[in-house]
């Protein structure tokens, strides 16, 4: 159910910050990229989604290396576990070991539902662990929950000085 006052509050918060909320989606499946972007578009048009299709690109984006020298710092990272070149577990460990990057909330969004992966992701300090639903309605509902919690309610950190 849409909540007018929350929606107004979100818009107001975005106006104050004068910039959209930036999400980095690290995902190699073009289908899942498309679904996630469509779900965000219908949920909150003020969310700006960037995509990295493997772990090496994700780290280059976050460290503003090479082609990504101008990349914005994301407010939130959605990270798949099974990725080519450099896997999601390694990306998560690299983010959380980096003093500058570790404050960025990093949410695992994966098809993997192995108990060992859930526990080890939390041990590596993933901020949350989500399993991609197969059904479109459930996927859209998941993105709506992500938006409602992380974009509307949470106080996101600014870049450490």
């Amino acid at each position: 159910m849409a909540n007018q006052s929350q929606a107004a509050k979100t818009r107001w918060a975005i106006l104050i910050k004068n910039q959209p909320v930036r999400v980095l989606l690290v995902e190699d499946s073009p289908g899942d990229v498309r679904l996630t972007m469509e779900a965000f578009r219908t949920t909150n048009a003020d969310v700006n989604v960037n995509v990295a299709t493997n772990g090496v690109d994700a780290m280059a984006f976050l460290r503003k290396e090479g082609d990504y020298f101008n990349a914005p710092r994301p407010d939130l990272i959605l990270l798949d576990l099974n990725l080519p070149i450099m896997g999601g577990r390694e990306v998560l460990a690299s983010i959380k070991e980096d003093d500058n990057l570790r404050t960025i909330p990093t949410v695992i969004l994966t098809k993997v539902e192995e108990p060992a992966d859930i526990v080890s992701s939390y041990q590596l300090q993933a901020n949350a662990y989500l399993v991609k639903p197969v059904q479109w309605e459930a996927f859209e509902s998941l993105v709506r929950s992500i938006n409602d919690f992380w974009v509307t309610q949470v106080q996101l950190p600014q870049e450490p000085a």
Binding site: T103, A128, Q135, S145, V154, P160
Partner: protein, 157 residues
Amino acid sequence: MNDPRSGMRSDMSPLEVLLVEDSPGDVRLTRDAFINTNDRVNLSVAVDGAEAMAFLRNEGEYGNAPKPDLILLDLNLPKIDGREVLAAIKTDDILRSIPTIILTTSAAESDIVKSYKLQANAYLRKPVQLDAFDNLIRSISDFWLTKVKLPRQGGRS
């Protein structure tokens, strides 16, 4: 509802939430909001940091305390401060996997950044208005207790 493909929880045992909060008014508001939102939540309360750590480590009278699925932690607490509790949780190999969410009146950017550095799972500000408070608890319940895979789904350690 419990179709695993829908991402819904199939295990129907209670969801253990530990609220670390010294204000009786805020405890009451949180408890009422959870009762209205999610009847599977079993809310335990610790009123200061020392009690929270004893609960989490099953010390003294907390020998039988359940392992929380989620911790809601105020920052300004008597005895052991919330920042210290957070640091103690996140440097403990057993406790660090428990999602720990800061729920505080502090809006100081330094508190926000420091909490994320210490690996708080999220940082929330307590709204002053009652309906905004209810919305916040509903959002926590919807995201963390319905959508998220909690560490318990990897088996209790």
